[in-house]
């Protein structure tokens, strides 16, 4: 079984400031890791994913996440946020073997302050 912890339910950040959204997971087997974003009144969209290889993965809109196996973390970062980044961000994991279930964290609401 897997579990995902997003400790920060809400993160307010000033525009153009950096941000880090934390994600820690627990699993007895190797996992794939995902960040999904949900903009206001919209569905969930994949932001980025880690499958294997380089531990640093990037999205097209400036976000990046680094897989840290020893700390079982997959924190999401952006060096300079914009108003348009206001959304809820969900971290998720899926086992590389066996159970196909995608397990989500409870989400972090990112609010950008002008």
């Amino acid at each position: 079984a897997q579990s995902v912890t997003q400790l920060d339910s809400q993160v307010p950040v000033f525009e153009e400031a950096p941000v880090e959204l934390r994600c820690n997971y627990s699993s007895s087997v190797s996992v794939y890791l995902f960040w999904y974003v949900q903009y206001p009144n919209q569905g969930l969209q994949l932001l980025l994913k880690y499958l294997s290889g380089s531990t640093l993965v990037e999205s097209i809109n400036g976000f990046e996440a680094e897989f840290n196996k020893s700390q079982t973390s997959f924190h999401l970062r952006k060096p300079s946020v914009h108003i348009s980044d206001t959304a809820e961000y969900f971290c998720a994991v899926r086992s590389q073997f066996g159970n196909e279930k995608l397990t989500f964290g409870t989400g972090t609401r990112l609010t950008i302050i002008p």
Binding site: Y32, Y36, Q42, G43, Q96, N99, E100, K101, T106, G107
Partner: protein, 115 residues
Amino acid sequence: GAGVSQSPSNKVTEKGKDVELRCDPISGHTALYWYRQSLGQGLEFLIYFQGNSAPDKSGLPSDRFSAERTGGSVSTLTIQRTQQEDSAVYLCASRQGAARGTEAFFGQGTRLTVV
């Protein structure tokens, strides 16, 4: 279709009535998931289909909830004798399934309100 389609987008029902929620996955996607998103609760897994089979239905909260998938495509989530605590957004997602690392694509959801 181009994306995962869910219908209806909104449903208001009276307590005790049955409801059916429909999901049309992306064509060719063999894996299909149902999730529930309640205010402040995050995304709660309900059931997973691979083809027409449901190898994991561990998230269904009670026997009032059931789901089926036919022809390896459309899925229906049925809630019998709805209760107010069933009010939530019900999300469907599909995944190609051939390679384990492929991402799941989500529909816009059905907002269910039980009054």
